[in-house]
Symmetry: C2
Subunit: 347 residues, 2 copies
């Protein structure tokens, strides 16, 4: 099985790649070749089982190489993040929409020319949902809630969802759409995601660094730890299609399960774990960040994810403990070298 | 005011253009120039008030000319229709998605370079909705119902909706999205729209020609006459934004009001109007057409349209009578020559 991961140098891509290298299988089949692609340079990877190819540069420049051999499963994680899409509309359209379109076109060319129908696992986002005065969000969000994005990032993710769903309906692609919650605590350094603070207000103080919280502490967030997010992506990638229990039914996107916590709860947990480190956080609301983040839903009906065997993190304390355990065992900058800490069983 | 109509040679474009030429105003302002563009050649138009420019060819080849002078209002009707998008995915993506994207880019360049923010009136479709076993449609569809297109045409319309909504939210475009019902009885000749039969089973027998009905007679359809459809497009184009009564609230698309009738009811009405002419219709279900048409919703909650002053046709008999009245006064091939029959007041 030949597996491609785009955005492989990101915090999700690194963990997913490490996990794939560690297990060496996907959907019960051995991964014979893994292709990791990112605009950011990736560290060299072991050439032991499975063989790894690292491609550095724009995804769209590498399509020929990616599809030179048949692609069985493609994890498309590469994206411009929310705040950069909001400040640069064209960048977001190019990176999030045009690159995905090019990938979808290459994938369906593969199936149209007699190759296998590629499984395309696309990471979408809770940012497809948004509240407006004319149509406020219901108290609990489910997959039947109308997406009404209030950020260009969310709109671009939704456009890609529609394209992938339609190609899946046509049978020219096997699309799997995973709507991610806000992932926290993310390892590494801050990026331009509007949700980045949900990680930095915990991660930075835990290493003795100051952090700024750009939202009011009563803001509630729908969170998922990195561990459970990667588990969710893999579960949906591997799920059998069908109508039975545990099967993936239709091309409808799946919302990953969410733990709902307030920023104040998160800071209380930080104090519980690390005492005065919580004083390193300065609350300084930023209207640009708040405009994006407060439009996102904070509470989800997790039943569809539960039917696929996915559970939210039990509480924020366990999220912080997972983060610390992972950091201590692999270093804060854990790369795709196969040193990932095994999480709970995937299925 | 400079107004552009794309798809101006289509059955909707001809009627809308005729109506604009007849009134000579839009939103209370005089139309000084009307630009009609279509791939299909348009008849010469009168150069009296307002001045009319006719452009023949692909929309994307004419963007420079369209935007050489500021565009105040742009009616974007040009589209590949449902059955052709289903049989040729790339054609649909090119005509429905890429051309709309190019138009949106040109429109936002106008506002970004100091010109007026163009009002872009986009005709979407009830085909954005679709029923699946995993998530069947509710009995009544409203604007808060989740679109789940089951045709590439519907998916492409939904993608454009998202792009236009996001640009409207950003203030770089004033997007108005009108979701059309199945328009019947359409003048002219059949096209490749899966819904075309809803017109041909009435129009053809009324002129003594045979017609084939590719769906079972118990199929129910959400219809709107051509008159009311054009009224709806103009009403939404002219509506003031805001939260008061009769205002357009948010960028949310508006579903035009629908009359729900079964094909059997339509044929009964035909018999009532034209007696044995109804015998010219042969029922011959076509799985490809049925797959598209039966996925569309047939009953709508018309309250949002009603708040904008729009009402569905009262019954199918009045739809047929309107069709006959229009045909008899302007000929079956009525063009944008300003001879349109006045309908009820627009507001």
């Amino acid at each position: 099985m030949r597996v491609v991961v785009t955005g492989a140098a990101g915090f999700l891509g690194r963990r997913l790649t490490a996990r794939l290298l560690q297990t060496g299988t996907l959907d019960g089949r051995p991964i014979t070749r893994l292709v990791a692609v990112d605009r950011v340079a990736l560290p060299a990877m072991p050439t032991v089982r499975p063989h790894v190819d690292v491609l550095h540069g724009d995804l769209t420049d590498h399509l020929d190489i990616l599809f030179a051999q048949p692609v069985d499963v493609l994890f498309h994680l590469a994206a411009a993040v929310s705040a950069e899409c909001e400040s640069d509309f064209d960048l977001g359209m190019r990176v999030n929409v045009d690159a995905t379109r090019a990938l979808v076109d290459a994938a369906r060319t593969q199936s149209a020319t007699g190759g296998p129908v590629p499984r395309l696992v696309f990471t979408s986002s809770l940012a497809v949902y948004g509240s407006t005065p004319a149509l406020p969000l219901p108290p609990l969000i489910s997959e039947s809630t109308l997406p009404q994005p209030q950020s260009s990032y969310g709109a671009q993710k939704l456009i890609c969802e529609q394209l992938i769903s339609d190609c899946t309906r046509r049978g020219i692609l096997d699309g799997r759409i995973v709507r991610l919650m806000t992932v926290a605590v993310r390892p590494g350094t801050p990026n331009a995601a509007a949700s980045g603070f949900a990680s930095s207000i915990i991660r930075e103080p835990l290493t003795g660094l100051p952090a700024t919280c750009p939202v009011r502490p009563d803001l509630r967030l729908a969170l998922s730890s990195l561990r459970r997010t990667v588990q969710g992506i893999l579960r949906i990638a591997e799920a059998e299609r069908g109508t039975g229990p545990g099967r993936l039914n239709g091309p409808t996107p799946v919302n990953l399960p969410a733990l709902t916590v307030s920023v104040a709860d998160m800071l209380d947990t930080l104090r519980q774990v690390a005492g005065n480190a919580a004083d390193l956080v300065t609350i300084a609301p930023d209207p640009a960040v708040e405009a994006i983040v407060t439009s996102w839903p904070c509470a989800f009906d997790n039943r569809r994810a539960a039917a696929l065997g996915l559970r939210p993190d039990p509480d924020f304390l366990s999220v912080v403990r997972d983060f610390l355990a992972d950091r201590n065992s692999v270093g804060q900058d854990e790369g795709p070298r196969g040193h990932d800490v095994p999480g709970p069983p995937l299925r």
